[in-house]
């Protein structure tokens, strides 16, 4: 993992928004290295900043938001310094593309789907006319649309939800991007379709040599697609590691809580595990570990000093004082211990 090429490097990124005269800090000094060819999943509750974080890679922050500090290094340039739209046009769509959540709203209802794919090709690849059309048809075929010649001429309303999402994906890969960001790509879809779309995305990743970022709150999706997982809470990545490390050997109390609240781990007739309280108010400065007020196992220091990353393995690190050598031993909840046992059994067997 360590010797792999870093394609995108985010350092101490701070993103703020102005809202009704107050200033909200959405991303609090988050850092991330994205490796070439990997698939990274960012998980977290709504409001944890996972969408804002990735939108900032494409200059898609809302008008009332700005990058306050930090850097986003991509191909030797610092994207955080980009001020004008013209700069972003070199990156957006061409180098970094995005698939949005709802296929119902991300297509233009007045244009045929073929034209929409073709438009992306003409704009970004400099190919025009018939040639672009042929390419558009072959991409439609790549994303699993049958009879692409005829479907090229159809409008979005003639497509089902799953098929529309395929078209959205076709538009995203049509520009031959290096990084593909999928923001909740399957949340709006049925399970059977969801499974198909995930298979498709995995296939395209190999075929087009993509580095993919999935933003999702569905841990089932994460388990399927991710090489690495980053857990976000209150605007910071509090734990990051290989998929299996985070699932079977989670370290941060928030990751414990997130995994424990899954209905799959619940026992019928008993209450599901819930996280008490609400996420912190991002209008105020957060002291210490942002999760401490909701964490029944919080240490004193959690309320005073923000934890740095502690390395668990060369590929796995978490921001929690529990990993400090001086910290008392705190046992994770029962359900997490079960997961850990499975992991150990799996490693030995």
């Amino acid at each position: 993992m360590e010797d792999r090429k870093v394609i995108l490097s985010v350092r101490d990124l701070v993103i703020k928004f102005r809202l009704r005269g107050d200033i909200l800090t959405a991303i609090r000094e988050a850092s991330l290295d994205l490796y070439e060819g990997e698939s990274l999943a960012i998980v977290g509750e709504s409001g944890s900043g996972k969408s804002v974080f990735t939108k900032s890679f494409m200059g898609l922050l809302d008008a009332n938001g700005w990058i306050d500090a930090g850097s986003i290094i991509f191909e030797g340039e610092d994207l955080a310094q980009y001020k004008i739209e013209k700069d972003w046009l070199k990156i957006r769509g061409k180098k970094i593309a995005m698939v949005f959540q709802d296929p119902m709203t991300s297509l233009n209802p007045l244009k045929t789907v073929g034209k929409q794919v073709q438009e992306a090709i003409e704009l970004h690849q400099g190919i025009k006319g018939e040639e672009a059309k042929d390419l558009a048809i072959s991409i439609l075929e790549d994303v699993g649309i049958h009879d692409p010649e005829n479907r090229y001429k159809q409008y979005p309303h003639e497509f089902s939800g799953g098929m529309r999402q395929r078209v959205v994906i076709a538009i995203a890969v049509a520009c031959n991007p290096q990084i593909l960001i999928c923001d909740e790509p399957t949340t709006a879809l049925d399970v059977t379709i969801q499974a198909q779309i995930l298979e498709l995305l995995k296939g395209l990743k190999d075929k087009y040599n993509l580095t993919t970022i999935y933003i999702t709150h569905d841990l089932g999706v994460v388990a399927n697609v991710a090489d690495r997982i980053a857990v976000m809470y209150a605007g910071d990545i509090i734990e990051i590691g290989k998929c299996e490390e985070v699932f079977y050997n989670p370290q941060h109390p928030y990751t414990w809580a997130l995994l424990s609240s899954l209905p799959q781990l619940g026992v019928k007739g008993h209450d599901l595990f819930t996280i008490k309280g609400t996420p912190p108010n991002l209008f105020y400065e957060i002291k210490g570990d942002a999760f401490a007020p909701r964490n029944p196992r919080a240490l004193k220091i959690d309320f005073v000093k923000r934890p740095p990353y502690f390395q668990v393995s060369p590929t796995h690190k978490a921001k929690t004082w529990l990993l400090d050598p001086r910290a008392p031993k705190v046992d994770p909840p029962e359900s997490i211990r079960v997961l850990r046992q499975q992991w150990e059994v799996g490693n030995n067997g």
Binding site: G161, T192, H217, A223, C243, L258, S261, P263, Q264, T274
Partner: protein, 320 residues
């Protein structure tokens, strides 16, 4: 559950149509099931399969074309008298999917929760109404002080609690929960599910739980029906169905459930359902059959034989 089961709601050969003549669309076709008092009955299927339509037909929001809906011994679909209509409104309540869209933005919580009471006037004095509303708020874990606030002042989870409060204030017996947690975050989902389970225990509620999230359905329901294109294809006790799904559609649906466990998730086998190659219904149309006690399936003779073999095989495996 093992005690004597009383049927609270019975749906017989229900058919719901939209549009007329050439534009006619059959949303629900010959659906039958019953719900016992005190249980949680799940209805799963993909979007457009008609699960919401069934819920809305029960609560009299959609007209029925054929069939009967019998609630506590009385037929409640079609033309019924005003008194019964009121009674149905009180005894069957609904919780909606999106708490952001289902609450009146311009009304205070007090009005939202009281609205059903106002409509039916089943309180004597205003004090009584207030007491009922405050009790409902406490029951769902909200403070009575919140009554003077507007919906936008609440988080998604709290809004859904308000949605639950306005249902239980009517003291219903049956609650139709249409995707009550799909719009919520993972951690808040657990809270709302716990709340629903808690209220069920305290008030002896019966739930019709409509959802497409199959892992939630497994956790919360006692029995579950799988619906495909307006027809129920399989119905059984939840655990039994999840362990031994027989119908090819049920199997494909269950095989697609995302498992939050990387090893199992990556090892799983997707099954694909294609009605044209799985069934030969032209010669031998399917029937609704009880293949084993409390396990119903839509199948024709040839398929039934196949399914029985599968059951026998599973039985052997379970013993061995």
């Amino acid at each position: 559950m093992d005690k004597k089961k009383e049927v609270l709601l019975e749906v017989k050969n229900l058919r719901v149509e939209f549009g007329k003549r050439r534009k006619k669309f059959v949303a629900v076709d010959n659906v039958s099931f019953h719900i016992y008092r005190g249980e949680t009955f799940g209805l799963v299927g993909e979007s457009g399969s008609g699960k919401t339509t069934i819920g809305r037909a029960i609560i009299r929001l959609n007209e029925t074309a054929e069939g009967e809906i019998i609630f506590d011994g009385k037929k409640i679909n079609g033309n019924i008298d005003k008194e019964l209509d009121k009674e149905v409104t009180r005894r069957i309540q609904m919780i909606f999917q999106d708490p952001m869209a289902s609450l009146n933005e311009r009304a205070k919580v007090e009005y939202i929760v009281s609205e059903g009471l106002y409509n039916l006037k089943n309180y004597k004095t205003d004090e009584e109404r207030k007491a009922k509303v405050e009790k409902a708020m406490l029951d769902v874990g909200l403070l009575p002080e919140f009554l003077s606030r507007f919906p936008h002042e609440f988080s998604g989870g709290q809004r859904q609690r308000i949605g639950v409060a306005r249902a239980i204030v009517m003291e219903p017996e049956l609650i139709i929960a249409d995707e009550p947690i799909s719009a919520l975050d993972v951690s808040i989902r657990a809270q709302v599910l716990n709340l629903m389970a808690d209220l069920q225990k305290k008030k002896g509620l019966t739930y019709l739980f409509i959802a497409h999230d199959l892992s939630v359905v497994r956790f919360i329901t006692d029995r579950v029906a799988v619906i495909y294109k307006g027809k129920i294809v399989e119905l059984a006790e939840t655990e039994r169905l999840y362990r031994t799904p027989l119908h090819p559609y049920t199997r494909s649906l269950f095989s697609a459930i995302p498992i939050p466990d990387p090893r199992k998730e990556r090892a799983k086998n997707l099954e694909v359902y294609d009605p044209s190659c799985h069934h030969d219904y032209d010669k031998d149309p399917p029937r609704w059959v009880e293949i084993e006690p409390e396990h119903f399936i839509l199948a024709n003779e040839r398929e039934l034989e196949e399914y029985r073999k599968m059951l026998a095989k599973n039985g052997v495996q379970a013993i061995g």
